[in-house]
Symmetry: D3
């Protein structure tokens, strides 16, 4: 099985972190192919940027989906996830959704830990959209200024552990999600410090992608979703996307 | 006060319907400027198309917002609404949100009537995102094939009235929303047939836009929203949008 | 258009505050007529008093409604609002409902700030009744003893600003509502101090009343609500109300 | 223990039905005193009438509460219940609340059966206000015109049984509530026909009143509720009520 | 009427506390029979233990139910309650459910106070299962180590009062439930210290059991619940239970 | 990795169906070990039976868990799941939870199809307990009498397809779950007839078990859940379980 690991951020080092973490948990027989966004933002950090990068996600998957059994949209806000699912026949997995559904296997309530307070409202909206509000213990983030997205794991280690402990002890979290692509791989470094199970987003995404492929077998060869569209004209879209809508590819 | 009435569909006749309906309820002193999308789909009819047109909405408002006191995104799925609100300082109003919030003034539960069943799940998701599920009596649509978006109001008049009556009598709706830009102006033609108040989306949008401007007075000159972003680099975006993100315009 | 601004509190100075604030945002062509309750309490401050004043509201609107295009019940607990809506054909607007529905246009979650903790449970119940719990960031009030309802805005200015800031920074409010008729006009004095949009109840009520009239056009001449009652006998009611129920007026 | 069974409808025969049903399940030692409203409507059938009768309820309990250990407001819409609870020191029980809380002991979901469709929205609102929506299987009513409130039980017996069976078999109700004072005593006539437990409102109210008194022992002699008010002036209220607010009685 | 007060904990002194408290509020004519579990744990303190003791509850009631008009499962987590209700024809009451439904009569929101933090998630789950989340002000417990279940009331009196006051003042509770069989009888010792009504679980259980019997009259002689099972074979069950399933007893 | 596939029903042919279906989707390197309950019921079909079998589940896992990396409780009602998770250090997966969480990857709302109406309320309760009510399109079952649990898939094929189509077309399901161990393997026989993705419970359970093991790596060697209990005495329990509680095994 061949899985596209698409990082909608334009930062290569984030892709590396995601790939290095995810490949350690792939089953034998799974080929994982990393790809970094060529359009967009170094790091998607709000809904406006997610709106814009979500369109690019569609352009990329329109071009690549026939070469893969599944695609991962590797940003926690899951930009373009619902739109992609309604358009393409392969399973599409989002980093945030995968982490939250995985967390539900390990305890009643998950706490989300991130490195910037700005994302609180946005991530809470993801929880609501998924219908998982009853499983949500809340969001906690460190307050410090982010100097470099690359050094968060080392510079903020203590603060992130503190936030996770508070989520368990104060908010009542039974499971911790370290949220956001830049935190992939962080679980390994801290799991001895936290008393409850920890979800790594990159691990969750690749395992949920494998599960999706295994459970769909023939889905990719048939009309798997209800909303399969008839050919449709458009104006001014990216060429691949326009061709996909008009059924020319 | 000058309000941009932006139709994210590429069909001019839909813009005409919206404008002709909305201008009848504008207050004296309000200038309403219609504009039809140059990129996108003749009629946005699902979340994938809304994802794509939502990005175009941002491009257009980035270019135009300094010339207006408010902007209306005139499609019921409110493409790009949340993203636009987080980016621009003028009030932004969406057709769907405006209709639903207005409906709340006229009764406990609103029923949504549209002309195609495909939109049921999508519109229900709008209701959930707005947090108005407790005010929602359900969705009803006519089953017939849509031959021409222009002739819906005349050809489907009887069926739409039937759906509205069922919404009141079976689903318990206290208010009816005729949903979607192509139904703007339809209220006038049928209000004697329906026993409860009817919401016209175009009317709702322009009145909510006027209300927003009246209530914000100085907002457009100050930092009105919390998520005002620092300058940010991007790659490959539409020029206006990229300049807006980098604070060059 | 002629709008009745009925203050169900018996304090004239509250009426003045409401009127002076609201008239600044009325559209040209709107005549706003203030009226102070002749029966009831100086300031309605709990559900028991709202129950009693709600009946007086019905008596007053029964007498006055044929002279107006809409009526505002100018107390945040909206005494008698639902009952009035089911009885009379003109649009009826409540201070609380108008403020909360308006707030929904400016951000995901609104925080309610008031001048006494007693109203926390009552106002939260209003939020629930409106079905807006998912949009509610919580209630905050100052703790100090209220010496004079007239001097709250000057004496408690600092404390109210502090509560509003806490609502934004701790509770995550995207919009602030200063709740209660005695706080009408307060927005103008503090909006430079608060980083998010502020809703003034009096402004919201008059704009929502105008919107309601504009969107209902013919409603006042036809059976607009489902629950229009047949003539009904009663015993011991206020004369106007009794005549209204028996269809004698 | 002495319990006031106050019927806020002005129809004596409804009081008789309530009393005759309730007294059969009172414990020895309970004295139940029936009283019929002297002001109001023959039968309260919507929220507007409940608003008006709710104020009368307060006037009556203000006058009578020192003579009783508890009071029952014997109409299913519970007019004035919350207001009365916040004002008086004896336990106050409402017909609707008592029926619904009792139903929760006998199964997961209760269905509400009444004799007129008009009350559907109003009763559903009671369910929501009680926070019992997850326990609610829905409302069913007979369609026929009500000729006489007195003859419902005999004339509509078959239709009411049919509605109850549909509630069980179609809506999934585990318990049936026959709602409204005019249906008190009806349970006995039909319980052999219905496969699930049935709640009689009058029985529920008197047993919940007894339970409340037994569980509060000293409550009536101390400040039992948080919202106990300081003396308050009012204008134009019913004399007893005004005296109660000003602590003159 | 004869009511079984079954304590699923194996500690006799807990049974004594429950019985001594409950018997003070029984109506004349009610015979209350205490019984202590012979199998299980000294004190059930989590869902795993409740799962195990819940099966023993079924064994005991299978053996005893023909001798009683109702049975109380006297542990706050209500082990086996739903299962027992679906199997046996007499009313079954649980300590937790009875306390929470009773609390709903005395205020909008109840706070739960217990003596160990471990039970927070478990009790919250009970609240959710009952569908009473909108009535729930939260859980508070003392932090101290529990040395002896018997001495909690005396040793922890101050801490429990403090928790109850915080629940009222910080969490907004209108009613306090002292949760857990070991706290039965504690209400009497502290009610002068707490400004809102207090629910004693043992009192609530016996009064709800009496109410259930009074309201079901003929239920115990007929098929009262929908899920009455046909005879069913089983392997390896406790003899009484197996016989009950196979309709041999 | 070694996974225990424990069928809590005592019917061997159900175990065979589960095993034959699940083993086709196991990853290379996974050893799946089937085991049939020696105590309990031929087919668990309500909450009372689930209560009893849930205790047996604990006895079996107490004995076996040190030989496995994960355990599957292969009945849709997930008997004993929460209790097992709080007691044992290996991941525990339930058939129902696994199916529902998997379904969330393939569409907004899942419909549950089963072969008997009796389970409607019980399965709906599972959905609620999982907090997935917003993702639930409803339950549908065939009405016919079940003659043999073994022949359901062949005898009821047409009826089950009809129920699934109704769930999609009437209830708006985006994904279908064929619920219950006796329906494992049925997906393959009908997936060409249904227009949306189908979830097979046995497939879902084994893939979620593999995912859980892959994502927990070191969890089985450390204190993975918060509620790890200190040694505890008990009376009259099954020997293995008693030893496990007292930390003797």
């Amino acid at each position: 099985m061949k899985i596209l690991l698409y990082n909608p951020n334009t930062t290569q080092s984030i892709t590396d972190k995601l790939y290095n973490t995810a490949k350690l948990v792939t089953s034998s027989g799974t080929e994982l192919v990393p790809m970094t966004a060529k359009k967009g933002f170094p790091y998607i950090s709000n809904e406006a940027e997610a709106q814009i990068s979500g369109t690019t996600v569609l352009e990329v998957i329109a071009k690549e989906h026939r070469n893969y059994n599944a695609a991962i949209i590797a940003a926690f806000g899951d930009p373009g996830l619902k739109a992609a699912r309604s358009l393409f026949h392969i399973p599409i997995v989002g980093l945030g959704e995968a982490a939250m559904l995985s967390a539900c296997l390990f305890g009643k309530k998950f706490g989300i830990i991130s490195f910037t307070n700005n994302m609180s409202a946005w991530y809470e909206e993801s929880v609501e959209t998924l219908g998982l509000k009853d499983r949500y213990a809340g969001f906690r983030a460190i307050d410090s200024v982010i100097l470099s997205i690359d050094k968060i794991q080392s510079v903020q280690k203590k603060n992130l552990i503190k936030s996770a402990k508070d989520s368990v002890e104060i908010d009542g979290a039974d499971v911790i999600i370290f949220a956001g692509a830049p935190l992939s791989g962080f679980k390994k470094k801290v799991e001895d410090k936290i008393s409850v199970p920890i979800i790594d987003c990159a691990e969750a995404a690749v395992k949920q992608a494998e599960l999706s492929v295994a459970m769909t077998n023939k889905f990719s060869n048939k009309k798997s979703y209800k909303t399969k569209l008839p050919p449709k004209k458009s104006i001014g879209l990216n060429k691949t996307l326009s061709d996909y809508f008009s059924h020319e590819i």
